[in-house]
Amino acid sequence: MKRLFPWLIAVLVVAGLCWAFPPFHIRSLKQVKADIVGTTFNPTNFVEQFWSSKLQPATDQAADAAKVLAAIAANPEKVGEQFGRTVGISSSYFLFLRGTGRVVSADADSIGLSLQAQGTNVDIAVPLGPVFGNAVRDGTGLLDSSSYPNAQEFNDISAGLNHLVETQVLPELQGIAAIGKRVRFVGCVEVADEDSDLKPLKLVPISVKLE
């Protein structure tokens, strides 16, 4: 028993030290994720404010869609250089467009607009499903990733903007887009592949109105 006593003391001391100064902590993945995202940035508030005070007033800066379509017809390889915006190192570019088109097709997946007076071809398609990607965030040049210390904040902005497009703009478009109607639009396009993304342009709208 006497021999065991010092060992018992040592074990108790070690146990006490471990209790007072735990060598490691077990935390849930959810907790770690929350800590990384941080608490100071509120993407929902930011996106709502940005949408109304910065994005909507900037629609005048968008390029004339008719001119972009003329450039595509003339030389598709020059469109990015003339009208596009590239973010970082990428072969893709974004277009920020405004114009008026006539509804020539409408189904559950997409609304098709023609910019020609009597045209039947879809020049601009507006997909109606979930909105993914960064066309709205990166298409206008109003937001710069360098201003955000954590890329997750910047990505949350993209998700928030896409959510507003889905919940506000697309339902409005579906409400007014009857065949033959003329619709004024402003929106962004991502061109990742010039062979497939220019004809038609796939627009993520930020504003639509019946003319």
Partner: protein, 320 residues
Amino acid sequence: MKLTLSQLIRAVALAMASILLVFSATAADQPAAKGKIAVVISTLNNPWFVVLAETAKARAIELGYDATIFDSQNDTAKEASHFENLIAGGYKAVLFNPTDADGSVANVLKAKAAGVPVFCIDREINSTNAATSQMLSDSYSGCVKLGQYFVKTVGKEGKYAELLGLVGDNNTWNRSKGFHSVVDRYPGLKMVAQQSADFDRAKGLEVLESILQKNPDIKAVFCGNDAMAMGAYQALVSAGKDKQVKVFGFDGADDVVKLIAEGKIAATGMQFPKVMAQKAAEYADEYLKGKRDFPQKIPVKVDLVTPENVSKYGDYGKKN
């Protein structure tokens, strides 16, 4: 004293060899004219990071610098020690692949205070006033594309698992969030397990083996990098489930690209380690020549690699 012709030739050859030896020894002892650049990499226990490190080193040497690679072994303490050594060692710039988005900030600030510019490659630090510039793969957008392809190939219903990378690294969550921003829109797709395998191949194998024991009916596994995807694929082969479960990775590692071509892995996101590493070395050179206005963050686009377009990719990039 008379010398024969052969003796004369031998004497001249000996003299020339001695001169060459002296010159080469002097050249080896002297750093290159432009100084030394450090390449500090989170881990070299992954071929993708080896490519990143070797490319950065090679480009720095091409630009006239001496370059040394430091392996942090995914340990912030080792990384801190590398920074102390390289600052004391007179390195002029650091091409840096951080171990931890928060934990690595102090090291970068220490270098900055010592007048040594730091250029982050691939992985982000959570600060916009520490590094001179950060060249970062757009992991989130890449995984949005992977998520869309996942839904297209796996379908809108079924069970799947996710292997996360290092939980302290922003890329882990950027990739996971990009993927979930798509997949979570389909309530029929149920994630039955989400566990970290630290971006490590052996851990990827172990973790998926344990997941398969509890969830033998998963249809797919999404892995936050290709090393874990390779480990997961090995686990599936061992369990005889490699035909049943689709594996999705991220990085564009050569072994995964080959397995995509063979129809064994479903898809990956091609990052461009060579492009990032070369650009970072070029930025360091420009900085040392006097340029100061660098963008803080430069996103680098990630391409989706699938069996349909895999022939266009290889050697850690896009084929010309």
